[in-house]
């Protein structure tokens, strides 16, 4: 038993330095993307944090399951849909005006329950060795064609993809969306766990095109400028080129409201926004920070006519994806 106790103390995570209760963050954004800026917050403010990394949708499900007992203070999500779903379920606290006034109204919850931290566009990544620009589809609807059989990658468990499907339902209607999903599956669409492996697969030539968020490719390009992949923005407000946000919200069950607000304010500050612009290649939404020069400017993207609050029906999307068999 002595040995057991010793072992236990050895592996229990930072039990010694737990001076004050840490701020508990559930992050649906990848560890590799956001851990540096989270750590910087902790170093700058001296506020200890504890971050649980998992899929955005999975963490939304976890928060719903945990109910009032949720240990989470802040939820950082990679899309507006999951945040909207938690807002709808009555689990989020209203954000104070010194937070909400920092971001344009179209990038936050109409009721002030969640806020965008950075913007991202849905795009098509393509392998430049397999596809020339003139072969690129004009719409997502074209991807069900025979020439794309077995050559398209998607990530149905990924929150950003699910938000994209919610947008399709809003723009195309249920029936067209359902047919499209079924046709995609019948066309041997390839399934990946998330965005990064899709971009990797396009670079490796495993697929010709893939449905992803814009910024992943820039990370690959920063490592190796010679990678053979590029981004395609669908024209004419097609559902394939949605502008979404990665955002944050504070749980109404959190007893750390003050610290949680400081955390979100920090992420909206010039330092963090510069990080999102320069390190993760997203669109900064606050602090007067300009996006990286490599990016197509937000104004140039022909976005469909949708509000982010139109993306809250995650339940309906998940149900549809399960019904057609895109989700097992």
């Amino acid at each position: 038993m002595l040995v057991a106790g010793l072992l236990l103390s050895m592996i229990s995570p930072n039990s010694a330095q737990e001076m004050s209760e840490p701020l508990v963050i559930y992050s649906g954004r990848s560890q590799s993307l956001v851990e540096p800026i989270f750590n910087r917050f902790s170093e700058d403010t001296g506020i200890p944090i504890e971050v649980r990394y998992a899929g955005t949708t999975e963490l939304a499900a976890t928060i719903l399951e945990e109910g009032d007992a949720s240990p989470a203070d802040v939820f950082v999500a990679q899309d507006a849909g999951a945040l909207g779903a938690l807002a709808y379920a009555g689990r989020l606290a209203a954000l104070p005006s010194d937070i909400t006034e920092r971001v344009e109204a179209r990038f936050q919850s109409p009721a002030g329950l969640w806020i965008g931290l950075s913007g991202r566009a849905r795009v098509l990544v393509y392998d430049t060795e397999q596809v020339t620009p003139d072969q690129l589809p004009a719409s997502l609807l074209d991807l069900t064609g025979e020439e794309w059989r077995g050559r398209v990658g998607w990530a149905p468990t990924n929150a950003s993809f699910q938000a994209n499907v919610t947008a399709m339902r809003a723009l195309w209607g249920e029936e067209v969306t359902e047919t499209w999903l079924k046709d995609m599956i019948a066309n041997d669409v390839r399934v990946y766990p998330k965005n990064t492996p899709i971009v990797q697969a396009a670079i490796d030539g495993e697929i010709a095109v893939g449905l992803v968020n814009h910024y992943y490719l820039y990370r690959f390009l920063a490592e190796d400028p010679s990678v053979t992949a590029a981004l395609h923005y669908f024209p004419n407000g097609d559902a394939g080129t949605l502008v979404n946000i990665a955002g944050a919200a504070i749980l109404n069950t959190s007893e750390n409201q003050g610290l949680a607000q400081r955390f979100i304010l920090y992420l909206l500050g010039a330092g963090a926004q510069t990080y999102f612009a320069e390190e993760t290649y997203e669109y900064p939404l606050a602090g007067g920070v300009e996006p990286s020069v490599d990016l197509v400017s937000l104004a140039e993207i022909e976005v469909p006519d949708l509000d982010l609050s139109d993306l809250a029906d995650l339940a309906g999307t998940v149900r549809l994806l399960t019904t057609v068999g895109a989700l097992p």
């Binding site: 649980r52 949708t57 390839r190 019904t323």
Partner: protein, 549 residues
Amino acid sequence: MTDAPSVVRHWGNRIRFPRYSLLATPLQWVATLVVAVAMLPMAYLLWRARETIGSDHIDFLLTANTLRIIGNSILLTAAVAISASIISIPLAWLTTHSDLPGRQIWLVLGLLPLAIPSYLGAVTLTLALGPRGLLQGWLEPLGVSRLPEIYGFSGAWLSLTLFTFPYVLLPVRAAFLNMDPAMEEMARSLGSNRWRIFWRITFPLLRPSLAVGMLLTSLYTLSDFGAVSVMQFTTFTRAIYVQYGLPFFGRASAAFLSLILMALALSLFLLERRISSRLQHFRDISGARRPSKTVQLGRWKYAALTFCTFIISLSVLIPIVVLISWLGRHKPAYALPLDLPTLTQNTLGVAALTACLAAIATLPVAYLVIRSPSQWNRVLYRLAFLPNALPGIVIALSLIFFSTRHLLSIYQTLPLLLLGYGIRFMPLSLGSTRNALASVNLRYEEAARGLGAIPLRALWRITLPLARSGILAGMALIFLNVVKELPTTLLLSPTGFQTYATYIWNSYDEAIFSQIALPGLILIALCALSLIPVFAWDRLLRKGNGHSL
């Protein structure tokens, strides 16, 4: 210790001492508690399923999708069991009955796949044999621009076959070793040719062991999460994981699917138990036998060597070569920081802790069934084996449900992770602990008590030291399995807690393969090292019966 173990075993089972009841009563309480905790995930899942079955989601769940999942799981399970047998029967025969050069080395190499976690093996297979993998790179000059599809059924089938066939190899090898050559010789003297002898004599003798091995492989396949996820083939475990990650009715679907999976796994498990207990009797009654004559392979030797080399290349060489080839590659700036000391400390720490705690927990259950085999104690002993049939993801899910609703103080803590491991792997040491205790002559314990030692002291000073090797073998087996375990670790780890398994999984998830290489090689080395005590200490295993694996 001059008595033959089999004689001692009978003593242990038959003689009862009323004065042991003093020890038995508190022990019995402990044993009952242990088994009750072990039953918790199963019981809670059934309890929770009421909500699902009562709700309006039930129609939605009983869709073609669920049927497809059941179909996929059964198809994969059967295919892996068959192909693992096709590999294992010749390998077992070659390493027991033939003059194959380096028989012992081939045997050790044939057991090494047990040290390769299925998810890691599957990742290396996709990197090697994927559409644009290592092999395609080598074949590029020959004009091969694309290899046939590995994702889906074929990849899942290939990887699970390659990394689980030792579960068939061990019992089949044991059967070959125990086979009395007299029958084959008699058949030959009556004029049968080799082929006929194999099908009419050898194969029927092999069948029970083969069935046990196939069922063990099937159970492993059914509960595997990593390989099917990597290969994107939707079986129960993958579907459960995906549904678990969906809000609203996702958790209910996951519970519902878990229930079906549990029923399927339990029936396979009970079937396996039935056959293997018959097998045990069958072995006990067969008397002294001569060792079989070694068959000269002659010119077939080269074919046999090619076969062995092929299998081992795929199942052992590919993973190691692929990992080594990725070692030196560029690590992107955004790769997850690799903190080897912490990963090692965490991995070894939870594995050692689980092994210790599980050994302590199994002791009363195993002791009682030997020393005081009442109806109740025998039922406890049998029940305690059941959780081993449950896939890790099912146990983890049930414990998450349970702790969020009823025991929040351990939710997302290390004790919950240890509980998950413990429940899943405790049965692995139960059999070997029982056998080890059974082989200790009761008279030693009696002598100690006659000299005035209280029962617990006699147990501590006399019985346990004598049973040590069997208990340690069980602990080593638990240790190995915890080090390899992915889904339980993934779901139950405290926030921020990483082991080799989860680190590798997360890096794979981000497609940062260069970050898998070093931890992957270390993980395989750790597993290979913990295989040594498993085989060295368990006498039953040394005789070749892979049962407790």
